[in-house]
Amino acid sequence: MANARKQSLHTKQVTAFFFFLSLVHGNALPAGDQLRVYNDQLKPLLAVRCFSCHGSLKQEAGLRLDTVEFMLKGGDSGHGIVKGDPDASLLLARVSEPNPALRMPPEDEGDPLTVHQLGMLRAWITANSPTDPNEKPEADPRDHWAFVPRVRPTVPTVAVKSDWLKNPIDAFISYVHEKNNLVPQPQADRAILVRRLFIDLVGLPPSAEELAAIDSDTSPDWYAAIVDRLLADPRHGERWARHWMDVWRYSDWWGLDEEHRNSQKHLWHWRDWIVESLNRDTPYDEMVRQMLAADELYPDDPSKLRATGYLARHWFSWNRTQWLDETVEHVGKGLLGLTMNCSKCHDHKYDPIQQVDYYRMRAFFEPYHVRLDVVPNDMDLKRDGIPRVFDGVLEAPTYLFVRGEENKPDKSHSIEPGVPAIIAFKDLTIAPVVLPTVAYYPERQPWIIDAQLDAASRAVELAQAALTKIVLALVAEQQTLQRLAVDPQQAIEPAAESTVVPHHHAQAIAQTAVDSLELEVGVYQRAVDIALAEKHSIERRAAATRLGWEVSDAVAPVSETVQERMKQTAQLAVQAERELAVAHAQHNLAKLRLQLLRTPADKKEVEKAIDSVRNELEKARSAVAEPGELFTPLKLIGAKWSTTRFRTTTADDPPLAFPATSTGRRRALATWITDPRNPLTARVAANQIWMRHMGRPLVSTVFDFGRKGNAPSHPELLDWLASELVDQGWSMKHLHRLIVTSAAYQMTSSSFGAESNMGLDPDNRLLWRRDAMRLESQVIRDAILAFSGTLDLTFGGPSVPPTAQADSKRRSLYFFHSNNDRNPFLKMFDDADVKECYQREQSIVPQQALALSNSRLVHDAAAQITKRLHAAGQSIGGDAGFIAQAFILLLNRSPTKDELADCMQAIEGWQKLSSGETLIDANHRAHTHLVWALINHNDFITLR
């Protein structure tokens, strides 16, 4: 029915079309006008409707339509157009085809061309398809700067200003300056430079002492010396970890209230791995490999497995597609600078990425799941555990979703993992990884059994301690009884009058207590026996279990001796378990005897119970010696799969086993991404690193290096930096050192005296000065705490929960930070959005002023800093001396005369506000206010 209607519509459309055609023929335009029609209307129409499949990006059916020459040449089916003969022009035939299955553009790419558009095309062909003689085809995407192989550029020779140059970076920048008549700004003051280096490399300001020491350093190498020192400082890893946590989307878990839906608990293990790796200068490529595939590359190294937190973070309990969509999107944007996500529903409109490429990329991740591995010192996965990935469903198929719709998978065939052809510089080899036993039997990690043994030993200690306590109570009561026997009068405690007890009663009570306690000691003694038997049983069963593993792992057939040993070990384990049963029965008996004493009323039932337990005990005793080899296996848990709810959000999916092999897909992807020949990886990383040092990226679309992104402002510099990164073993510290020791880095951010530059390049696009940077939220808070001397420099560990943050003095990167929980102070200063943060915002809003001027953090800090300065004798110079020292500490520079005068005036005003406090107190308060003001100074939160 619907088809019939459609058909009739088309018939009508075609009729109308011929009607219109006659109009067009009747009003044929001169050739010059047809050229204009082509340039202004037809070509733009073809560009929007046809080029993405028939242009430089793709040549479906061998056909391109981006020049008339291509149209004439045509494709697999023949000429696209024939000049002057519209009826022989296939292009016209296909776009005016009534059958939607044959018509172009395809049905799902929007409506057919309108009658008018068809008429226009026909008229233009009739008029011999005029075009510009030098019509240029669309640029070839293979020539796009980011897709071409990276070649190490030659460092340009710069004619003038060579005294400005400090390293090759400056040659590249200077070269551009010269071409654009720009003059670089001079070096910033030493104090500014020191502050820059400290904030940039360790995320904390220099202390007054550090600053003074550096200031008096007359060596010419003073600058390089600080750089070396700061790069070696463990705080460097924390500072740069926060940068990479932005890019790699670190987020603690979140969900709805307590229901865990996103990311993973204990994800801080990954954060600690980032900090440690950066401090060790683990090469960038190695870090990426570990994040994507440590479970395939280092399956038995728990320390490296932490890296896969990168993928564990994408975990989403309810929907596999949403989870993998985010994975594909951010592996693309974060590691490759590719907007793969734009090709989920259709081929990419700008980059040579087909829709199927999206699903090929997804296929790398299709098998992976997430689990928590038990850590050596805590068996309780609620408290700790390492979130890591593993290939859980090895045969999971990947289907292309028609138009990206999850409910329309094309199940005709499963898509194999692969990379977009444009960057397929080598064949991808995917080989399955045979995993070591501990990877799929995580309970075989030695610490799992050890933890049970430890727990058993602790239980013995606890039982013994309890026994000692009860024995001491018995001894005390026995002494009381003895005293009563010797001198009943004396022994009565001088208690409250109402509770005076006749002495014969007291004796009886004491006797009862002693009788009861004697039995109770028996109960506790039996409890110790149980703990010992339990420990013994675990030891015996552990020995048997371990032997069993050893035997099952052995390649050689099991010898008779070993068989005999196994038998013996198993028998011992069984025996120990039976001894444990005896201990339990004895414990029960002791408890019943005590009960009999305490509740004589229940005598009948209790005696009955005692008989029954005695029977049990007899049986248990005689069972000990009986043969038997079937012991109860130890309850060993080495890891727990992070349960998904893909089928229904109200029930867990069926449990997943840990397979003995991994597909090797992610290992192959990681190898491909980190191959030095990959044109994107190093460029994207170098751009990120440059941006975080300089305040401005070389490619402003930091996550899109594709054809829709922006071209680099300094393409050769970018390639040179990327080459340095790769050629120096992907050492990030090498790149940090290069950048911070460049003259470009050390320029002043002031535009003072640079009117000419201002006129030529007001936005400093070509880097004739430094850009001032607003400090990131974490640095602001950390600096405030550092100055007040309260910063807690403890490394690593679980994230500080939101409720503890107000009082915590830990560095901000350790704060629990998720989609749902964001620290209110950090939030004010453009904190990282956990969903996507490739570059921080640097907003300026009054709310930031309120946070800095009103928060307890700042007020407490002002008081502490003032106290510290006073304690250090910095108030000796009076108010002026205090002001000078406060400036040096907080802004790393001395106040100017005018600033000093401003501050003196304010201090005077504050002192006058005194209401009856002592002069010293008023003075102290005024100084505190001054410190508050300097924290609120724009230069406090700005890196000049």
Partner: protein, 477 residues
Amino acid sequence: MNHLPRRTFLADLGMGFTGLALGAMLHRDGLAAGAEWTPPNGQPHFAPRAKRVIWLFMNGGVSHLESFDPKPMVTKYGGKTISETPYAAVQNPARLSLERAMAPDANGQQRNTLFPLQIGFKKHGESGIEVSDWFPHIARTIDRISVVRSMWTSDSNHMAQTQFHTGRNMLDGEFPTLGAWVHYGLGSLNDNLPQFISIGTREYWNKKDGLYLGPAHDAVPLRIDPQNPLDFGQPQQAFSREAQAIGFDLVKSLNGRTAIEYPSDPQTAARIASYELAFRMQRSVPDVVDFSQETAETKSLYGLDLPHCKEFGTQLLAARRFIERGVRFIQIQHGGGGAGAWDAHSGLQANHEKLALAVDQPIGALLVDLDRRGLLDETLVLFATEFGRTPGSQGSDGRDHHVFAFSVWMAGGGIKRGFVHGATDELGFHAVENRHYVTDIHATILKQLGLDSHKLEIPGRKRLAIDHGKPIDAIIA
């Protein structure tokens, strides 16, 4: 270097315009090169008819066909393709050429099969202007309104939101928004409150307004929550108002001194201004969003007692209270993030009915309330959206993006009451009579505020004629 007249400098900041204006101060005092250019002095260029603007923007694209531009022919030919109607010529390619797609995707296509109007229209008021039945409250105030039915834009995707605010297609880059221009051009009416406020989500375009005018001209984003009007709104330790005042003065003067060492640094200037404002906002913002002094009648007028109106009603009542206190420009976005809630590619009827229910009563209330308080004469209210929706259907029950025609309306601030301007063709496809690009709205608003956008231009930032637009004089009373 140190002879900068501090008093003048601070007075300038107190006026609430900074950023380049600060740079301009330095120019004026001969501290920077080039003295030929005079920056705005905070005064209108000619006598204004309006002092303040409330800019209501519906994210996603309201259907003009189902709000303020009834087209019976769309219903009459419903189910037919456009080429089957007598109006086939609307798709003449030459007439479609203004469209510039920013990000071609499945949307923003030609839709050929006419989709009947999903709601009825009635004439209202003495003016007899037709308004769809989804907007009964706005309909009741129609005699205060000038409807412009002949708008066009060029970006067939949601970057058109940006385009409506900046006047530029995103393919051209990023430019200041109209609110930023107004903020840049005019002095403050109340130093205790931000002069440019943004309420609601604006996810689809850059969160910045000032761009080359500097961050000091970005809107201050406010969340209207009477329970928690302002984070860190009060000192969390004992700090008397007097001591705080001395502190803020000191911070201001110290920051001002670095502005000399770091000239042309809009960040410093913006930081100074943000402190000025923060100091005063602590007291004034909680007061504005405290509705306890409002009568029950007013609150229910805005629909605060109705769950579906409460959020938007709260924002509009706050807007009136901000306006009363002299806030210059309030930009309120409705429809949340992403493409915007009004983006009815499918299920248009349910979509528009629900959203209209949320905004109609509060908007009607705003006009009534402003009018009865005598504020409407000097307050210009704009109701706008990024583009219209296609006469043809997308899927079975939606409409696609449509750049060739859409409707906006203005009220107050010297705008004619009960007036219709411009017209679309029989299908509502093209604006055909008195066509207006989005910057004509900008020009109209600037004119009513007494500003000439040519005089606001910055050296080195030449604007095109189309950026300035032309005032729609026909709707000016």
